[in-house]
Amino acid sequence: MMSEVFAVDPLVLFTILVMAAGTYLTRIAGLVLTKFVTFSGRTEAALQAVPPAILMSVVAPTAFATGIAETAATAITAIAALRLPMLAAMTLGVVSVVVLRLALTVI
């Protein structure tokens, strides 16, 4: 059992290291990039949209193209997020997705 827990396949380790190298490159690319280029005006405004745009893109397929329960729960979470602390809004979102999925299968 112990040997299974600590088993490491050489090819698995190699794959992990290649994945890690690629990921690290993307993470420091911005540091290198901003060293040579300074952003102002329109470019700066565009760059400021990066955070919400990426977060939105990551969740959009799940939030808007999975089903009615997910889309409705997304709306509930978004409205709750404007008024409640983050943990409360998140909990409300998860609870509402469970309730809505259940309600939709019953109907």
């Binding site: 992990i16 993307t26 893109s57 997910e70 404007l82 998140m90």
Partner: protein, 249 residues
């Protein structure tokens, strides 16, 4: 804005670190079920708990780890996995470029070591922090290490208990990640212009996801949102912040 640099210098240290930890705290409840799920799926694919820990520690990017599992088979298609990982992680280029100018006094070593753990959540909370003042290294480390420990502990636990847990969608936990990101998105809300950016990136992401396989939808959505912001840029804005002050900070 003007006093940012002073503030970030004064606040550096244990207090900032602790603030980072407490800022991350609610996200523990989102990261834990996702980590458990990752570990359980990895165990099904034949990965050992140590391999799960190694992948989590070296790669430390949830989205690409799940993508890798999806492609995991025998013989291991390491090149496909590596390329897909790189593709889904291309968003980090934009993320680090966006965060880099908002850092406090970081040494180059702190930057290049610290950005090793620039996961989505770490980046998002650092950006949120940067809306008020420059993000200090201590704050960043407080956020990042808390996620690091949570993620490794949860995914190793998931790989050990695996099959016992059952399907996490039964408890709606598959939605925890989405709910977390929606909350983070709303944190960046600054009015109608943000709405247009979100609509553009959401639409582009959904359409790309539907018609193009792989992780291109994240890049497409990000680019659409950035273009929307560039088009909306007003040369003569009615801002509170004076350009001279913006340059100083």
């Amino acid at each position: 804005m003007k006093s940012n640099q002073n503030k970030s210098a004064v606040n550096a240290g244990p207090n900032e670190f602790f603030l980072g930890v407490t800022t991350f705290f609610p996200l523990i409840f989102a990261a834990t079920p996702i980590g458990l799920l990752f570990g359980a799926l990895a165990a099904q694919k034949g990965m050992s708990p140590l391999e799960v820990l190694l992948m989590g520690s070296f790669v430390f990017a949830g989205g690409s780890q799940f993508l890798a599992l999806d492609l995991w088979s025998d013989p291991l298609p390491w090149l496909t996995i590596a390329f897909s990982t790189f593709l889904i992680n291309l968003r980090h280029v934009l993320m680090s470029a966006s965060l880099a100018p908002k850092l406090g006094h970081w040494t180059p070593l702190q930057k290049y070591l610290g950005f090793f753990i620039l996961a989505d959540e770490v980046w998002a909370l650092s950006e949120q922090r940067a809306m008020k003042q420059h993000t200090t290294f201590s704050f960043y480390l407080g956020v990042g290490l808390t996620l690091f420990v949570t993620w490794q502990a949860a995914s190793v636990a998931g790989s050990l208990i695996g099959a016992v847990m059952g399907d996490p969608s039964r408890y709606g936990l598959d939605f925890a990640f989405t709910a977390l990101f929606i909350c983070l998105v709303m944190g960046f809300w600054q009015g109608r212009k943000t709405g247009v950016v979100l609509a553009a990136s959401g639409l582009a992401a959904v359409l790309t996801h539907k018609f193009v396989p792989g992780a291109w939808y994240i890049i497409a959505g990000a680019i659409a949102g950035v273009i929307a912001a560039a088009i909306q840029y007003d040369d003569n804005p009615n801002r509170l912040q004076k350009p001279a002050e913006a340059l100083q900070s």
